[in-house]
Amino acid sequence: MSCPDLFSVRVRLCAERIAESREAALSGLYDLAAQRLVRFGTTITRNQHDAEDALQTVLVRVAAEPQLLLRADKPWPYLLRMVRNEALVILRRRKRWSLVDGLTDLLTAKSVDDGANEDTHRAIWTALRTLPTEQSEVVVLKIWESMTFAEIAELLELSPATAASRYRYAIEKLHVKLRAADVEVPS
């Protein structure tokens, strides 16, 4: 990253506040990053409750050791990696039968103005869940976290070319799945 990532700067500020006033300042980090971390965790665990458990564990750890984020060169990718690692631990621990079909576990934000797009959103989330985790996490990082392939590669410990090819396969699959589900995606 050539210029400092603004979100990382905000995460670092939150970590500094946590270091000063301990767990009392954790709410700032929660308000800043929880939604993004939960949706990222959900793409790995495929279950929002597990993703929230992963997030809770990570934030509790950050409250106890804010130096983890303060020492990191890029606090936001570091936090994403912490959530990813925790989500993978939960995923390994979880039995296969507990995998959720559909989106029943998700708490969705419904807006009156956005009602028309809800079907599209649901279809996208459903399609994302059908992708292998290694592909869906690249899509999430690329599109929702606006990361470059180099940054994604660093976070996931891959080569940038692998990250790019995973993204390409994922997008192609999503395109096919959404077309099959009769979802109209503007080109």
Partner: protein, 131 residues
């Protein structure tokens, strides 16, 4: 995002799909109780860590005190031994021993013991004066 827009060949354009995925990003939100649950868990965990740290510090402090107390006790014991003078019974017993050993009367033994005691006290006074 040229690489993204044209992942396979120049004919594929995924911009619309990417925008649709981007818009779906805010569709999922954390459950309402996650925030208080997380803050409460953090408070409990940090409180527990602080307690553990205090107990460890107290234990270390107690250990250091204990380690320092052994040499201090020796010094105190030595000083007390030096500060106390023998009792009259002790002097008489020693006088009898000296008299028996040297083949003299007990008066002479007692006199020698007192000499010895005075010399010892004079030395001790001299040493504490020098300190």
């Amino acid at each position: 995002m040229s690489m993204v827009s044209n992942p396979r060949d120049a004919g594929d354009d995924w911009t619309g799909l990417e925008q649709a995925i981007l818009a779906a990003g805010k569709y999922v939100r954390p459950t309402d109780d996650l925030r208080p649950r997380t803050l409460e868990a953090a408070k409990g965990h940090c409180g527990y860590r602080r307690l553990v740290r205090r107990v460890i510090l107290l234990g270390l402090a107690a250990l250091v005190l204990l380690m320092l107390s052994f040499p201090a006790m020796d010094v105190i014991r030595e000083r007390r031994a030096r500060a106390t003078s023998p009792s009259s019974q002790e002097i008489q017993r020693q006088a009898i021993e000296v008299a028996t050993r040297a083949g003299v009367t007990s008066d002479w033994g007692l006199s020698q013991q007192f000499d010895e005691l005075r010399r010892f006290q004079a030395n001790r006074l001299g040493r504490s004066g020098a300190q």
